[in-house]
Symmetry: C3
Subunit: 265 residues, 3 copies
Amino acid sequence: MTLSTSEHELICTLPRRVRDTAPLIHCMTNMVVSNFTANVLLALGASPAMVPAPEDAPTFAAIADALLINIGTLEARQLQAMHMAIAGASDAGKPWVFDPITAGLPFRLAAARELLALKPAVIRGNASEIMALHSIATSNSKGVDSRAKPEEAIDAAQALARSGKAIVAVSGPIDYVTDGTRTLTISGGHPFMTRVTGVGCALNAVIAAYIAGTRDPLLATTAALSVFAQCGAEAAQNAKGTGSFAVAFLDALTQVETLTAAAIG
Amino acid sequence: MTLSTSEHELICTLPRRVRDTAPLIHCMTNMVVSNFTANVLLALGASPAMVPAPEDAPTFAAIADALLINIGTLEARQLQAMHMAIAGASDAGKPWVFDPITAGLPFRLAAARELLALKPAVIRGNASEIMALHSIATSNSKGVDSRAKPEEAIDAAQALARSGKAIVAVSGPIDYVTDGTRTLTISGGHPFMTRVTGVGCALNAVIAAYIAGTRDPLLATTAALSVFAQCGAEAAQNAKGTGSFAVAFLDALTQVETLTAAAIG
Amino acid sequence: MTLSTSEHELICTLPRRVRDTAPLIHCMTNMVVSNFTANVLLALGASPAMVPAPEDAPTFAAIADALLINIGTLEARQLQAMHMAIAGASDAGKPWVFDPITAGLPFRLAAARELLALKPAVIRGNASEIMALHSIATSNSKGVDSRAKPEEAIDAAQALARSGKAIVAVSGPIDYVTDGTRTLTISGGHPFMTRVTGVGCALNAVIAAYIAGTRDPLLATTAALSVFAQCGAEAAQNAKGTGSFAVAFLDALTQVETLTAAAIG
């Protein structure tokens, strides 16, 4: 499905708007990627903050413009604080983005089920993660192939979007973004993006920054994925390996407004 | 207020002394910046160590040459360990540096109030943080504009320094360092320093390394801020964005003895 | 002791095998180095995952190909999860690698004693760490000079290897790897490897990736140390400081199959 001219324009202007408005993003994420996530948001002009304490998390989630929930290194006390932060955000009418890294483990699957019921605005993961989440939502216990391709997850993504009234995005060589009715694709990126830890996790934080204050989360999510696809392609051009790629990726994000938009369909 | 020749000389020789003596810095800091903080200290020749467990923190704080306390991702159990570490450091006559990241949140504000009473040797933050801390110290509950300029915080910094018998530093385009009576300024740096997460947090760790074993914490703190200002300016020269800036910043710190000192007044 | 031709060949082919098989490494490590550890494993083609929760750690350790235990920022709850993960790995016949960072602290020393009894497949540390661990194993309470040279630790390494039926590696300008009977040396590397936080910690994760599924842990451990020595030397060639060194090190790991093997004796 192609974009209208005004839709394309919105997607192209969002990077500038994020830099101008510097949305405050409350990141409750895993310890492996917290530094990279913060640097990605800062490169784009957003304001990251991590407030893990249950005493302060709900207050801060209400102040922030959007909330990120990532269960990649989930522990019981963090899950408790996440529930409280989501309640704080929801009461204040702020959206939250869900990054479901279950790895098929019981504690995390149970946590994902609980969190899914709390109405994330956007869910993004790889094909396996989205299919696993759809299985949870439908109590379908059949296993998920951890090497599923994005194409295989489209049906699950659309169903999940409809049942959860959420935007669902599936990352891969081609990305898919859907509201359950309309499905957009984004091309670009580079395989190095899967070989630097936290690129996907940081993308979810960027989605949070892009949907903050928007009335069109489908297009805002698409814009965030487009930024990553174009900056990934740009960064790969002169990279000698994953080290220089990660550096060039942050550089590309710093000057994203000067890059050509990724191919969106 | 200008520096005497001997003061200027001391500031210029401190980077070499830190590299030669490799002070052991006990960092109790936030999870987002712990890696960058360690790499900054290592680049300068200091020895970072993180010992979060309450069972070991006070023992280690007494062994270390200085202690860093940063409440950026504070949780209750970490606060408990911080109290114990400060007690260990204080009993052993070792100084500690306080990085107050309160974000106006109740749990952190209460923690900052408790910690402030434990006599940090140096406090460094941005203008808003220093003004917030001064409000705490004076039970002044009026709000603090989070975009306060360093100039607006000078009075608060000086009052805080006098009441706490501490050195207080305010970071910004121009930095201010005061003992309550004398106030020095440092020029230099680059806006990218606010767009790489943890630059300010790492600076506080460097202050800890510079004040370790010194008899003049005002000049030692000034020297640390000068190192950051000059390395930030150096790193920005060829940086294409925040990614290459962070890399070049660590490179500049590695060879800081070869750089020209920042402008101090 | 020199390598046979077939042994040398095995060591040279392991980087390719790791990339082709992408072993899943469960990393229970310290918070300072978790990001760098993951990026090192990804650069080599292995699959890192951190699962800290005690509810999931033993399940995941049994699924993973090898387990890494690093006590660099140990806390009580993490130690409990480590015990459970080791049990899960051991029941499933999966090896685990031990990174003993005791810093001479009581809580960590007691933890190291407990963990040592659980039969790690490989132990790697610097000379002081290996000598401290040997002291623990033999209830020898005499202090360990934290600046011990690798040569001084050879006897301790060999004794520890024999008593623990483990491979023991000592890192330094020249590395030593022993099974208690045979001792190999690896030359190469660069002093910058001690000035980027987590290089040693990441090496232990790489050892885990290399011993996964091998029948010769002595050679597999040697291969991992050889990869680090050659990539460290390669990265240092154009590095201007520790920042660009770390980037170039990840780049070298990304293309390790194209580099000449380090000198092994």
